[in-house]
């Protein structure tokens, strides 16, 4: 039988440290966060400017929609999901792609006030729609009550499903499905959390629903 701890066997040898200074770190975070901001009129994926060799661009369409209160006109490949539009073109990466099949809820956003799976929503269909993502819930520096409740209740661990949980929870509260812990659990079941934070998410939804009155 192996005498070694398998995980320890993975442990890398400790190299001589090169301690980064605060300055190098700040430079890093700028680079990390420095994804190009896409202007309102050029978010289109089919506008393949580099394709000069006569390859036919896939069918695309122009769509005007409102995202977090900002009106946007974009040209999208018809195949682009709302989720990919947000993440890859509008630099709104808060909505997450967990399964891309409507089976996990990590991509939940509000469209015209209703919670939906943005992964199964074709962006091309959203002419005139109002979309609210996790980035649009807070009012400036003031967190949405449910965001605050998630912090108060420690309702997340890795945080990856959290944006979807919060947006879904906001929808759940709006729908009025918060009458009991059991009701919250059932009506939040479209949002998987693999860290298993359900108990605290339920409490957070309860907290925020109560505050709402």
């Amino acid at each position: 039988m192996s005498a070694e701890h398998p995980v320890q066997a993975q442990t890398p040898p400790v190299e001589s440290p090169s301690a980064p200074t605060r300055r190098t770190f700040i430079a890093t975070t700028t680079a990390v966060g420095g994804a190009a901001v896409v202007g309102d009129l050029v978010a289109g994926s089919p506008a393949l400017a580099e394709e000069a060799d006569g390859v036919e661009a896939p069918p695309g369409s122009r769509v005007a929609l409102t995202v977090n209160g900002v009106r946007r006109t974009v040209t999208v490949d018809n195949r682009t999901s709302l989720l990919d539009l947000l993440r890859e073109h509008l630099d709104l990466t808060g909505s997450k792609k967990g399964c891309n099949a409507g089976a996990c809820g990590a991509c939940t956003v509000l469209v015209d006030g209703r919670r939906v799976n943005s992964c199964l929503t074709l962006a091309v269909r959203l002419e005139g729609a109002e979309v609210t993502t996790i980035e649009g819930l807070a009012k400036g520096d003031r967190l949405h009550p449910l965001q605050q409740a998630f912090i108060d209740q420690d309702a997340f661990q890795c945080g990856f499903c959290t944006p979807g949980q919060i947006v879904s929870g906001a929808g759940c509260i709006q729908e009025g499905h918060t009458g009991s812990p059991e009701e919250i659990r059932e009506w939040m079941s479209g949002n998987l959390c693999r860290c298993g934070c359900y108990l605290k998410i339920e409490r957070a939804v309860e907290q925020a629903a109560g505050r709402k009155g």
């Binding site: 301690a19 909505s95 990590a106 819930l137 945080g159 990856f160």
Partner: protein, 729 residues
């Protein structure tokens, strides 16, 4: 040196990065889009074994936006790699035509848009010379070199045992299924590679990528500040990460490669299935005399994966005669990999189920049986336990859970259509510690920055490290920033095996202690300091103010001290050497998990109603985070016990439920009432901060506690996980 007052450690502090996580601003690997980024999509093998005989990429290449289709036919040769872990042949990025398992990447398509890349990947036509596959442990032959362990004469003792049980347990394959799919964003600048990678192993990822491309580790930078769950899956750097980097080098653009949920079932490890034969022998008084353990478990053909499945059966109970054999079954599957509570969570199911069976056989309370077999020391190593508060776990758990209300007679409690049952199980996980370093810098403004190349897949690493640092520096938590997840930072071990707090935490504490001492030394030698001439050993720091412990008015702040001495900052490097080569103690964390289940008597459905978990994990740095970890593990354990089962079609090695609608993990509605209790205590033999780790121990024993409750409810002993309706009809 006066001990620092403890203020932050032990407090239920909220997460320091909570705001980022609830506003969607936390950047996970796939959230990064460097300028000019293009998208890569893998093409997977649709046979389970054989050779690729041809790849027709013409249709794919003709799609708008497609930059390149890379396969073994045109991939650059990579330098050979050797050694590493686990033993075997590494799976390389398109270096040969061999298909080793269904779903293996055989090509990658790079295109300017995600939509084009996805579509073009579906247009790549691959032809194969397919061979028949072997993917079923119940029929495949194990390798002929089992790993064995023995003490005493188990067979003879079993022969003569007044009570003997011979049982076979089976466990299905499980997949980690973190909510965040594995993802890599790779960018080359000359021969320097930067990757934003989902990883629990920042330093390991550097080493793997450097090795794959034959470049110095210093040329590789891995950035991974947030990890969206992993449970072990991201402790390894897989071929898809190498592929992303390879593609980026080929197309000379940054490349983003995000695995689909389906691909996660083929390429990033899994908790291997097993068949476990267990014989227990004991006397009528409930003292174990012997046990024999034979496990056959999944491994791949190209690597050999082993886990500590047999450890619980070796050291949890006093047993003079033990024989064990661990047999790998090499299969045409991708290599298994450690999943939360690796080995121990798997091994606890047979051992803790069998203890329950023995208790029933003897008419003993399951807790009493366990108490009668508490060992005086670790019989597998003959070392004393550093700390073992398992008895306290039983006691506290029984009280909190109301164990005395359990009717030991199975199928005796009913609530309408539901049969109610209670069960419990013990758990154990070894306390791992590895070498780690952390840099500490205190600025003239009185704030500190602490850094280490560790990760946070969810436990709250940055928060607990900030707590340790704040106390050691005598600062408030707000004055301390802890950063992680960048290979430019001082090295840390893989964020796995529950070793991060012990290892990185000890390095953080060491660095902060050193820095505090520097400041104290500066003060007592500074004629202009009110602390001039004081005994350094009498000085403590609190709220950023250094003062004589018994004369609190005599002191000054870090800020004043640094300003007067014209110092912009102080810095120190903390280090922790890891576990010594030869241990003087046996280090383990312990758990007792209690579960109440309801089983629909006619429909066979099992619903967990409530759970209590009690843990001996030694010192708890942050009770709020510890509580979340334990409750989350109970939910994960419900999946392990009742739902999770990766199904392979043994005709071709295809995984048939490779999605989150068919591979079932618990939902909100599956959640019972849960309570977690941590037994107070420290373990300073284990490490300088007195912790034993808690991410793994909290899941060990959950599944058998539920299975034992199912037996108590129904009188049916289910020896196979997951426990499904058909087993109970």
């Amino acid at each position: 040196m006066s001990p620092q007052p403890q203020a932050a450690v032990g407090a239920a502090e909220p997460r320091v990065d909570a705001r980022l996580r609830v506003t969607g601003k936390a950047k996970y690997a796939a959230d990064n889009s460097p300028d000019g980024v293009v998208h890569a999509v893998l093409v997977e093998s649709s046979v389970g074994r054989g050779r690729v005989t041809g790849i027709d990429a013409r249709a794919a290449e003709a799609e708008a936006g497609v930059l390149k289709v890379i396969s073994h036919l045109n991939a650059p040769k990579l330098p050979p790699v050797q050694g590493g872990f686990p033993p075997g042949q590494r799976l390389r990025a398109f270096q040969d035509d061999r298909v080793r398992f269904f779903g293996q990447p055989v090509a990658v398509v790079v295109a300017t848009t995600l939509e084009s890349a996805q579509h073009a990947a579906s247009l790549v036509r691959v032809s194969y010379d397919a061979e028949s596959v072997s993917t079923d442990i119940s029929v495949a032959e194990p390798a002929d070199d089992p790993e064995t362990y023995a003490r005493g004469d188990a067979e003879a003792a079993l022969e003569s045992a007044p009570v003997r049980l011979d049982l076979t347990y089976r466990m299905a394959r499980n997949h980690h299924n973190p909510m965040e799919p594995h993802a890599t964003v790779a960018h080359w600048d000359g021969d320097r590679l930067t990757v934003w990678e989902k990883t629990q192993n920042v330093v390991g990822a550097v080493r793997t990528l450097a090795g794959e491309f034959g470049i110095p580790p210093g040329n590789v930078r891995v950035i991974s500040p947030f990890v969206g769950g992993a449970f072990g899956s991201a402790a390894r750097t897989y071929v898809h990460a190498v592929t992303a980097a390879l593609a980026a080098r080929e197309v000379k653009r940054p490349v983003k490669l995000v695995l689909t949920r389906r691909q996660l079932y083929f390429g990033v490890g899994f908790r291997p299935a097993y068949e476990y034969d267990l014989s227990l022998g004991g006397n009528r008084q409930g003292r174990l005399t012997a046990s024999a353990h034979d496990i056959r478990t999944e491994s791949s053909r190209y690597e050999r994966h082993s886990e500590h499945v047999l450890e619980p059966g070796r050291m949890l109970y006093s047993t003079p005669n033990v024989r064990q054999a661990y047999r790998h079954v090499p299969l045409d599957v991708s290599t298994p990999w450690f999943m939360r509570g690796p080995g121990y969570a798997s091994g606890a199911f047979p051992v803790e189920s069998a203890m329950d069976e023995l208790a029933h056989e003897l008419g003993l309370d399951p807790i009493e049986l366990r108490l009668r077999n508490e060992p005086a020391d670790d019989e597998s190593t003959n070392l004393p336990f550093s700390t073992r508060r398992l008895r306290d776990c039983y006691r506290a758990g029984a009280r909190e859970f109301g164990w005395h209300r359990r009717n030991p007679k199975p199928r005796s409690t009913r609530d309408g259509d539901w049969l109610i049952g209670m069960g419990m199980a013990a758990g154990v996980y070894d306390t791992q510690r590895s070498a780690a370093q952390a840099s500490v810098r205190l600025d003239a403004d009185g704030t500190a920055l602490v850094q280490s190349a560790t990760s946070d897949m969810g436990p709250g690493t940055a928060t607990s490290m900030t707590q340790v640092a704040a106390d050691a520096l005598g600062l408030t938590m707000r004055q301390v920033t802890f950063r992680l997840g960048d290979s430019l930072m001082p090295p840390a071990p893989v964020h796995a095996g529950s070793q991060t707090m012990a290892s990185v935490g000890s390095a953080v504490q060491d660095g902060c202690d050193k820095l505090r001492k520097q400041a104290i030394t500066l003060a007592v030698k500074d004629e202009d300091s009110p602390l001039y001439g004081a005994d350094a050993a009498d000085i403590v720091v609190r709220g950023g103010r250094l003062f004589v412990k018994d004369e609190p008015t005599r002191g000054e702040t870090y800020q004043r001290l640094l300003a007067r001495n014209n110092r912009t900052h102080l810095e120190a490097m903390g280090s922790y050497a890891g576990a010594p080569e030869s241990e003087k103690f046996s280090f383990y964390a312990y758990a007792a998990t209690f579960a109440e289940v309801a089983v629909d008597a006619r429909l066979g459905l099992v619903r967990v109603r409530r759970m209590v978990g009690v843990y001996d994990a030694a010192r708890i740095i942050n009770p709020r985070l510890a509580d979340s970890q334990a409750i989350g593990a109970m939910v994960g354990g419900i999946g392990h016990a009742l739902l999770e089962h990766t199904v392979t079609d043994h005709r071709d090695g295809r995984i048939v439920n490779a999605n989150l609608a068919d591979y079932l993990v618990p939902t909100h509605a599956d959640m019972p009432d849960m309570k977690a209790i941590y037994i107070e205590g420290e373990d300073y033999e284990a490490d300088p901060i007195g912790v034993k780790g808690l991410g793994e121990i909290v899941i060990v024993g959950v599944a058998p506690a539920i299975a034992n409750a199912v037996f108590n409810a129904t009188g049916r002993r289910i020896r196979e996980l997951p426990i499904t309706a058909e087993a109970l009809l």
